[in-house]
Amino acid sequence: MFSFCTDPDTLSDLAWMACYLTTGKHLNFYYAFGTVLVLLAITAPTALAFGFAGASAARSRVLPLSLIGKGYIAIVRGVPDIAFFLFFVIALDQGLEFLKHQWVCPDWDQPIRQGNDFLVCQAAKVPLGNSPQWVHKTYSFFVAVFTFAIVFGAFAANVLYGAMRAVPRAQLETAEAYGMTHRQTFWRITVPQMWVYALPGLSNLWMVLIKSTPLLFLLGVEDIVYWARELGGTKTPRFTDYPHGDWRMWYFLVLLVFYLAFTRLSEVVLDRVMARLTLGQATTGGDAQRKAKA
C-alpha cells in the first residue's frame, strides 16, 4: 500500500508493521468486519419479521396456519444449528436452481440427478456460472442472511409467542368490552404491550446471533474468524514477504476485544430500549418507574 513497502526485509519494525497491516489480505480482514456488521444489521430485522410471522401463525385460530407456525418453531429449534447450516444451504441452492431450471430449460431431456451429481442446464445456475465473482459473493451473503433469519426467526417466534400470551388478560377483556374485533385487539392492545415481555428473550437472541457469525464460513462467506485464522497462522518466507510465527493468539485477541465491545454496546442500547418500553406498563418495572418519578 505505501510506497516504501517494496522490500519489507529491509524495513524497521514500525514501518514493517505498517506495511504488514495493510497488505491486500489484511484489507480483506478489515472488510470482513463490515460484512459481519452488515449481516447483523440485515439479519436482525429479517429474523424478527420471521419470528413475528411465526408467532402470529402459531396463535392463529385457523388450524392449518397454526400448525404451520408451530411446526416451524418446533422443527427449526430442534435441529442442531451446524446440521441446519450445512444441509439447508445446499438444499436451498438446489431448490432455487431446480425451479429456475423448470422455467428456463423446459426442453431439457437429461435427468437432474445423475448419481451424486446435481445437474441443471447452464442457464439455470444461480448465480450464472459466468457471472463475476462479486455476484457469487453477494448471492452467498444473502443465502447466509436468509439462513440466519430462518434459524433465529424460529427462536424469536417462540419468544414472541410467549410474550403475546403474557399480556394481561384484563387488557384484552377491556378491549373486547369496548367492542374491538379480534384483529383490532391484536394490533392495538397485544402487539404494543408484548414487547416489554419479549425484550429480555430477544436481547438474548441478539447476543447469540452476534457470536454465531463464525458459522458464516460454512455458508461460503469469509468472515473475521476465517481471516484471523488464515492471517495468524505461521508464515514461511518462501510464500510471503512478511514471514512470522504463530500469531493466531494476537488475532483472536483482536476478535475478543471486538466481540466484547460490541456486546457491551448492545447491552447499553438494549437497556435504554427496555426503559423506554417499560414506561407506563402494568409490570413491576413500569411500577418502579412511576414511583421513582412521583
Binding site: T23, G24, K25, L218, G220, R238, F239, D241
Partner: protein, 240 residues
Amino acid sequence: MKRLILTTAALALTASMGMAQTVRMGTEGAYPPYNFLNDKGEVDGFERELGDELCKRAALTCEWVTTDWDGIIPNLVSGNYDTIIAGMSITAERDEVIDFTQNYIPPASSAYVGASADIDVATAVVSAQAATIQAGHVAESGATLLEFATPEETVASVRNGEADAVFADKDYLAPIVEESGGALMFVGEDVQLGGGVGMGLRESDTELRTKFDAAIQSMKDDGTLNTLITKWFGEDAATF
C-alpha cells in the same frame, strides 16, 4: 440427415455455450506450496500457476474460488464450482463420488514431522488433516489420531505439544521443517500413499474432464509440468 443437422446444431450450440461458460476452480487456499493465499489475498501457488496454464491450453475462462476442505466435495457435486484443484490425492473412495483427471503430480511421499527424533510413530499421538488419506493411514497404523480442519492447525499442534508428530504430504512439510531452524524434523520412514494428485470433477462432466486431461497430457509431453513441479517443490521432488 435431419438428425445429423440437429446434432450439428446442438454441437454448435454447446460449443458456443462452452465459450461463454466460466469454469470455476475450487481450491482450499491453505496448503502451500500447492495452493495458498498470497499477501494480496489472491489464490497463489503451484496449482494456481498450473490451473491458469491448463485453462489457457484448453481455451477456457477460469475463475478461482476458495472453500472449506470439509465441504469441498459436496459443493462440487451440487454444482457450486466445476473442478477441485486442491492437492487432492486420487483414491478409490473419492473416485466413487467424483471423477479425477490423470495425475499432475506423481504419487508422492507422505512423511511424519515431530519435535524430537526419538518418536515412535506407530504409538505416538499423530495429527493429520481431517478427511485426507493421511488421516486414514494414521487411523490404521495404530497411532492415536488427532484430526484438525486445516493443515496449519496440524503443524501448530506439534509446535505446542498437543501432538507428538504430524503426518502430511512431504512437499507441504519440507518448507516448514526447513524454516523451523531445527525445532521440527522428519521422523520415521516416508510412506507412499494414493495415486498422485489430480483434478476432481463431477462424474457427469466427462467433456470437461477430457479437456483437462488433454491439457495435462500436453504439459507432461513438452516438459512444462516438470519445470513447474521443480519450481514449486524443489529439485528433489518426484517428476514425470
